[in-house]
C-alpha cells in the first residue's frame, strides 16, 4: 500500500497547470525566451561572422608576409637595402616576391583645379608588375601595368583612391595629375584585404617613376608568398635576409594575423552580449518564481485534493517543480527558435554561411531548464509543506 506516482504522470500533471492558464504561462515564459534568444542570437551571429572571417582567411591565404623598413636604433626612418627583394627571392620556400616603393613628396589630384593642399592622403608607389599576383589582388576595371605601360605615364588606382577621386571605370580615357604631370588611368584594383594600405595608393611602373617622378629606387615594402607549411621558418630568417647588416631595422609582419585577431576579438565582444542575455534570463527566472508562487496560492484546494487522493508531500512538490521546469524549458525552446531565426536572417543579409553553434542551442535549453528548477524550488517546497486540512479549508 505505497503511494507511488509514475514519471509520465508527473509530466502530464505538470503541463496541466500550464494548459489551464495559457496566457499567463506564455507571458511568464516570455522572459526566459527573450534571454535565451539573446544568447543564441549573439552566439550564432558572432559564430557566423567568425566563420566568414576564417573563410576569408582561407581564401586569402596566411602565407603572405611583408617586409618594411623599421626605425634606426638612434631614431629616424631606416632604409631597406636595394638588394633586399633579390635576397628574399633566393630563400628556398619563398614562392613570389613583389616590391613597391613610395615615391616621396608627390601628390595626386584629379584635375589642376584642386587646391594644392587637398592631397587626400594618396601615396604614389612605384611597383613591379607581379604585385597583383603576389597579393592575390584582382583588377576591378581595365588592366594592370605591363612592360610597356610601366615606361609611360600610366597609372593604376587602388580601390579607395578610385572612390575618392570619383573614377568608377576606365572605358573613357581619364588622366590624373601626379607630381604635376598627367598620367593616364589604365586600371582600378579591387580592394586588397591583406594590404589595405595599398587601397590608398596609385601605382606606376619603376621606369616611369624614375623618369617622371624622380623615384630613387628606395623600396618601402616587400610582399612575399611562402610555402604555407614553412611560414614560420621564413619569418625567422626574413629580417636577416633583407638586411644582413642591420636586421634590427627591418619590420616583418604577417597581415593575416590582423584578420585572425579580428576573429578573436569578435568572440570577446560577444561575451558582453551573452552576459546581457544572461541577465535577461535571470529576470525571466524571477518572473517564473513569481508566477509559481501565485499558482501555489491559487491551487491550494487542488493540493488538498491530491493529498486526499494519496499524494505524498514529495508528489505535490515534484508536480510544481515539473510545472516550473516545463514552463521555463518551453520559454527556452521558443528562445532558441527566435535566436536561430535572428542568426539566419542576419547572416544571410551579410552573405555569411549560417552557423548556429550547437553549444548555444543546448546551453540555452539547459540553462532554461536549470533556471526553471531553481525558480520552482521554493514554491514547490511551500506547496509540499501545506497541511492537507489547511489546503482543503480554502474556498
Amino acid at each position: 500500500m505505497k503511494s507511488r506516482l509514475l514519471l509520465s504522470d508527473v509530466l502530464r500533471d505538470g503541463s496541466l497547470g500550464l494548459r489551464a492558464r495559457r496566457l499567463r504561462a506564455s507571458l511568464s515564459a516570455l522572459g526566459i525566451a527573450i534571454g535565451v534568444a539573446a544568447i543564441v542570437g549573439v552566439l550564432g551571429i558572432s559564430a557566423s561572422s567568425q566563420a566568414d572571417l576564417l573563410a576569408q582567411l582561407d581564401r586569402l591565404g596566411t602565407n603572405l608576409l611583408t617586409v618594411a623598413p623599421g626605425q634606426h636604433l638612434g631614431g629616424g626612418q631606416a632604409y631597406l637595402p636595394q638588394t633586399a627583394p633579390g635576397m628574399i627571392r633566393r630563400v628556398g620556400p619563398v614562392l613570389r616576391v613583389s616590391a613597391t616603393g613610395v615615391v616621396p613628396g608627390v601628390n595626386v589630384f584629379k584635375t589642376d583645379k584642386v587646391p594644392q593642399y587637398q592631397t587626400g592622403g594618396i601615396s604614389v608607389r612605384a611597383t613591379d608588375l607581379d604585385l597583383p599576383g603576389t597579393l592575390g589582388a584582382s583588377v576591378a576595371h581595365g588592366v594592370f601595368l605591363n612592360t610597356a605601360t610601366a615606361r609611360y605615364p600610366a597609372v593604376v588606382l587602388g580601390a579607395s583612391v578610385a572612390q575618392y577621386l570619383g573614377i568608377t571605370d576606365v572605358r573613357d580615357p581619364i588622366e590624373i595629375l601626379i607630381g604635376g604631370r598627367w598620367f593616364a588611368v589604365v586600371g582600378i584594383l579591387a580592394p586588397i584585404a591583406l594590404a589595405p594600405e595599398l587601397d590608398r595608393s596609385v601605382f606606376v611602373g619603376y621606369p616611369a617613376a624614375e623618369q617622371y617622378l624622380g623615384f630613387d629606387g628606395e623600396f618601402t615594402s616587400v610582399y612575399l608568398r611562402t610555402d604555407p607549411a614553412q611560414v614560420t621558418d621564413v619569418l625567422a630568417v626574413l629580417a636577416r635576409t633583407a638586411s644582413p647588416a642591420h636586421p634590427e631595422e627591418v619590420a616583418v609582419s604577417r597581415p593575416s594575423d590582423a584578420l585572425a585577431a579580428r576573429a578573436a576579438a569578435q568572440a570577446a565582444y560577444s561575451t558582453l552580449f551573452v552576459g546581457l542575455g544572461a541577465v535577461a534570463l535571470l529576470v525571466g527566472g524571477v518572473g517564473i518564481a513569481n508566477v509559481m508562487f501565485v499558482s501555489v496560492l491559487e491551487r491550494r484546494s487542488e493540493i488538498g485534493l491530491r493529498r486526499a487522493l494519496g499524494a505524498t508531500r514529495g508528489h505535490v512538490g515534484i508536480q510544481f517543480l515539473a510545472e516550473s521546469a516545463l514552463l521555463s524549458l518551453l520559454g527556452g525552446a521558443v528562445g532558441v527558435a527566435i535566436g536561430a531565426g535572428v542568426t539566419i536572417a542576419y547572416a544571410s543579409t551579410h552573405h555569411w554561411t549560417v552557423v548556429v553553434p550547437p553549444v548555444a542551442v543546448w546551453g540555452g535549453l539547459a540553462s532554461a531548464l536549470v533556471l526553471g528548477v531553481v525558480a520552482g524550488l521554493y514554491p514547490a517546497l511551500r506547496a509540499a509543506r501545506l497541511a492537507p486540512v489547511v489546503a482543503l479549508r480554502t474556498v
Binding site: 500500500m1 503511494s3 496541466l16 493529498r307 494519496g310
Partner: protein
C-alpha cells in the same frame, strides 16, 4: 463482519488561548458494508472527525485504526499510501480539476497507485457507468450541473474500491432534488458493498440512513448502534 475503521477515545485539541477541544474522547467503530451518517451542527467537530478518520489530521490523543492498523505512528508517506489505497473522499466543493475531462478526473482517484494510464481510464469508465454518467466521459467539469459534478467526485472516490468512503457534506452545495439523488446514489453504492460515512448537518438526510452518530461539542451524544 470486519471492522474497517475504529476510533478509540480520540481527542483533538487545537492550541490557542484558550485551547480548543474539537474532539473529546470519541470512540467509533465502522464495520464493513455500513452506511452511516455523522450528524451535528456546525462547530460540533464533525469535520475534524472526518479529517481524523481520513488520516488528513492526526489526533492529539487516543488511537485510530484503519483495517485494524494503528495509524498514529505512521509516517506521512505511509499515511499517503493508506489514503491512495484504502480511503475515498467526497467533498462539499467537489474539487474537480477544471482543465481535465470527467474520465481523467475520475482516473485521478487511482493516480497515486502508479497504475498504467490505460488501466486507470478503463476502471474510471466502469465507475462512471456504475454511477450513471457513462455518456459524459469526455465532458469538462464546467459543462456539468452541480449534481453531476458531485456524482463524478463520487465516482472518483469509489474507483479504487476503498475500504471506506468519507463524504463531507456531499449535498451541501446542491439543491434539494440533486441532494436527494446523491443520497440515493450513496445508498445504491452501499447496497453494492461500499462502506460509506456521510457527514451532514441535515437531520433529514441523516435519519434516512441506517445508522446515525450525533456529535455535539466534540462528543458523541447519540449512536443508533450504540457501540
Amino acid at each position: 463482519m470486519s471492522t474497517v475503521l475504529e476510533l478509540r477515545e480520540v481527542g483533538k485539541r487545537y492550541p490557542g488561548q484558550p485551547p480548543v477541544d474539537a474532539l473529546r474522547s470519541v470512540s467509533l467503530r465502522i464495520e464493513a458494508g455500513e452506511l452511516l451518517a455523522i450528524v451535528g451542527q456546525s462547530g460540533s467537530g464533525k469535520s475534524t472527525l472526518l479529517h481524523v478518520m481520513g488520516t488528513l489530521e492526526r489526533p492529539t490523543s487516543g488511537e485510530a485504526r484503519i483495517d485494524g492498523v494503528e495509524v498514529s505512528s505512521m509516517s506521512d508517506r505511509q499515511l499517503s499510501g493508506l489514503r491512495a489505497w484504502r480511503l475515498g473522499f467526497v467533498f462539499q466543493q467537489f474539487f474537480l480539476l477544471d482543465g481535465l475531462p470527467v474520465l481523467d478526473n475520475v482516473a485521478n482517484g487511482l493516480l497515486y497507485r502508479a497504475l498504467p494510464a490505460r488501466e486507470r481510464r478503463g476502471r474510471a469508465a466502469r465507475a462512471l457507468e456504475r454511477i450513471g454518467l457513462g455518456h459524459r466521459l469526455g465532458h469538462l467539469p464546467n459543462q456539468l450541473s452541480g449534481g453531476e459534478r458531485q456524482r463524478v467526485a463520487i465516482a472518483r472516490a469509489i474507483v479504487g474500491e476503498p475500504a471506506v468512503v468519507l463524504a463531507d457534506e456531499p449535498t451541501g452545495n446542491l439543491d434539494t432534488a440533486s441532494g436527494a439523488a446523491i443520497v440515493a446514489l450513496l445508498r445504491q453504492l452501499n447496497e453494492e458493498g461500499t462502506t460509506i460515512a456521510v457527514i451532514t448537518h441535515n437531520q433529514e438526510i441523516a435519519t434516512s440512513l441506517p445508522r446515525q452518530v450525533e456529535l455535539r461539542d466534540g462528543m458523541i451524544v447519540r449512536d443508533t448502534v450504540g457501540s
